[in-house]
Subunit: 354 residues, 2 copies
Amino acid sequence: MMGWTAIVNRIQPVDLSLEQEIRDRLDNLTKPKGSLGRLEEIALRYCLVQGTTEPELGKKVIYTFAADHGVVEEGVSAFPSEVTVQMVRNMLAGGAAVNVLARHAGIEVRIVDIGVNDPLKDAAGLIRRKIAPGTGNIAQSPAMTEDQCYQALEVGMALATEAKEEGVTLIGTGEMGIGNTTPSSALFAALLPCEVEAVTGLGTGIDADRLAHKQTIIKQALQTNRQELGDPVRALAAVGGFEIAGICGLILGAAAHHISTVVDGFISTAGALAAWKMCPVVREYLFFSHLSAETGHRRFFDRLGVRPLLDLKMRLGEGTGSALAMFLIEAAVRTYKEMATFDTAGITQKVSSS
Amino acid sequence: MMGWTAIVNRIQPVDLSLEQEIRDRLDNLTKPKGSLGRLEEIALRYCLVQGTTEPELGKKVIYTFAADHGVVEEGVSAFPSEVTVQMVRNMLAGGAAVNVLARHAGIEVRIVDIGVNDPLKDAAGLIRRKIAPGTGNIAQSPAMTEDQCYQALEVGMALATEAKEEGVTLIGTGEMGIGNTTPSSALFAALLPCEVEAVTGLGTGIDADRLAHKQTIIKQALQTNRQELGDPVRALAAVGGFEIAGICGLILGAAAHHISTVVDGFISTAGALAAWKMCPVVREYLFFSHLSAETGHRRFFDRLGVRPLLDLKMRLGEGTGSALAMFLIEAAVRTYKEMATFDTAGITQKVSSS
């Protein structure tokens, strides 16, 4: 298995020499030039990631990483930690939103225990990759050791390698972890960087008083771990979470294997932010599914100069945004692959305007 | 068959007495309250249109109405009129964008010849409802007679009735007609109302000179037909098109039968605008699929105070936006129908913030 350094070194910019041929083919499909809008850009990106003008549509998988967070003891969340394991079981039973949306879009959901504070006995179908039963409380200590962080990154990278081997061509990220908007906001503040207030929101539904408290706790976490924040791996270890590190590793591993990854919402974007800081070129391999209703998500997109595909005021995570966006991406690639051309359909080209 | 007056009289406001029960059920699904964002509003709307807390997901159909436009002789389009019939044949063969996207989303596409300037011999699968072989040139005359307009409306209404009888539960609009952004812009200008320049764009891809000419032609059409523009049916007859009237009738008929309709892009929205002017309550039965890249589409949404579901810079028509949005709507309804509840999944409810 390749380690983190080998994976990061393997990620290269996409081969832009293919771009003109792909655009020419898009322009010869039976539609006015450019009229499929962003679907055409998606198809182009998908081809470039695979490094081919004849892209494959294979298996689609959402990896939902689950983990617990020591910082929940500070009272930052509207739900108690026990809901993490309850929701993992709900997902394994097919009853969560991500299950419904993924079924609808023909996507498999895989639940990865990367740090849930429960042995999860008799949990059929669970992918067991627990690093530890939850992180430390970031307001008081690092979330995890640097070694644990590399382990979590490698969990994600190894899953990407397995995905490549079984013919997965589109990966979605997802997560479940009560309290995980708190480390995500801390990572945004540390790595974008920006003010804590700009990237800290209501999570699963706290009130204004608790939001102020959450902001105070995040500032305390950044203060406690201030010596670690200059490096993305150390920042991820210090104020992140196991599921966030797993997502970060999955994104890096997928890019190394030329698989497009669809980034879900606020928490997954924190993982993508860390990956981008570790390896800026990884952004060429990413699709951003949706703009979350969580405060500050757009700060990331403003910084990268990209727009996510959907804006439906969702703020659920799990991979729900990934599921919807993966449908759109497959739709875009199918137009590229399946539409008739002007020649084959015998359709008159546009008359010259001159 | 019910005529236009009977259909319009039959359309009633949705039964809001069901709203609380539907919202309670949404709030008891295993997710933070409101966290599915607009998907929750979609599920609510879909239930209200069907008038039930237990909505059915049955067959989904996009009706793509095809027609020609006399005004093309004024040089308003980048493509010649013959492309209408060529694209109809491409759609019947399954090679157009709408076919690919609808297949991907499990939607049937039905092509309706409501006014193509070609006999369309040997066109298997075509629904033949031709009123006339194209409209008159609106710059010089009305597009059609009032009687023809009622015929076109009744084509759409009858298709909605047939859809109801065969168990269709979600209808999408679509159209194909070279030149049809011109009558659509004329209808926006006449019925919103607004300045011609604000709602006239590049259509399939004209240049700036031709855009100025197109605006002049639309103003001439509004001047020529100025005595008809105070009434929505007469305006539709005077400066509309057969496919636009068909879409208008389909929307009215679907609402009368408690079927949700998904409105495609700029041209379909012109049909929806006419329907709304004829029967304002019809808007309660509509979903708007996407914000077209065509200039001025947003004027309609600003006027109604609604936001379309997608914004992907598409401007193709055919029903392509409908296909993508119908997937999202079905996704939303499936979360409502299929997700576990807090009780059944044994998940702890939110802790009180107080």
